[in-house]
């Protein structure tokens, strides 16, 4: 019994180490995009990723063939959405201005989340909508607005008109 437990622990640690070595860079980049922090100073993204990876480690034996990368990404997205909700009073408010030196600083947390899921991670619209509990049309509209803001950042005032582009 104890031997079996030990061998299972060792196998889990080995597999998890290989997974982290392969996936951590991309996941950390995604997390840094979400938090709109500069790449060399991203404590919040690191905390987010560490918590997500810890969760993946805890459910590793019960994945049953599910993709651990997918699982970690889902947990990361949901945790970020919840954190943004609690810390900044909703997904609609932009990150505190001024500090982040990121290309995504003009976007709201929700716009960043959907943009990163759709464009960086390549998650399908339906899956992103299901993950966040939003209608698919809304995800499409938010993604189009986020793309418009990203490609044509506002100068100071005058937020850009949201255009709905079928993607």
């Amino acid at each position: 019994m104890r031997e079996r437990q030990a061998s299972r622990n060792a196998r889990r640690a080995r597999e998890f180490e290989a997974f982290v070595a392969g996936a951590a860079g991309r996941l950390l980049h995604a997390a840094t995009l979400l938090t709109a922090e500069p790449p060399d100073d991203n404590p919040r993204a690191r905390r987010l990723l560490t918590a997500s990876l810890a969760h993946t480690y805890a459910v590793w034996d019960r994945l049953h063939g599910e993709d651990p990368y997918d699982r970690t990404r889902q947990y990361l997205a949901v945790r970020f959405a919840r954190g943004a909700w609690h810390q900044y009073g909703g997904l609609g408010r932009p990150y505190p201005r001024g500090r982040p030196d990121s290309a995504l600083r003009h976007l709201t947390p929700q716009e960043r989340l959907i943009l990163v899921l759709r464009m960086y991670e390549g998650v399908a619209e339906e899956q992103a909508a299901a993950l966040l509990g939003l209608p698919t049309e809304r995800v499409r509209a938010i993604c189009a607005r986020a793309m418009a803001t990203l490609l044509h950042p506002p100068r100071q005032a005058a937020p850009p008109v949201a255009k709905v582009v079928p993607s």
């Binding site: 810890a54 480690y57 290309a103 582009v165 993607s167």
Partner: protein, 83 residues
């Protein structure tokens, strides 16, 4: 290339640009926290089984002592005394 595809390619290029360095202690920290979560879950599961077992034992003991299915002796008629 259609305008929509070009816009998407532009956005992807902007998103790909800066690659943050992975902190070296990420793996150990994740394993430490994940292991703690696992141990807590194992403990909680064991505690639940223990409580369930204790409740079952207590029920069986009480049933064998009190035997609540036996009809209690009638107590409604007052005892006839003093005549």
């Amino acid at each position: 290339m259609s305008p929509v595809n070009r816009r998407e390619a532009d956005v992807r290029r902007i998103l790909e640009e800066p690659q943050p360095p992975v902190p070296p202690d990420l793996y150990t920290e994740a394993v430490r926290r994940g292991g703690r979560m696992l141990r807590r879950r194992t403990f909680a599961r064991r505690l639940m089984w223990l409580v369930l077992l204790a409740a079952t034992v207590a029920l069986v003991v009480w049933l064998s002592v009190a035997q609540p299915w036996v009809e209690p002796p009638s107590e409604t008629t007052p005892p006839l005394t003093g005549w």
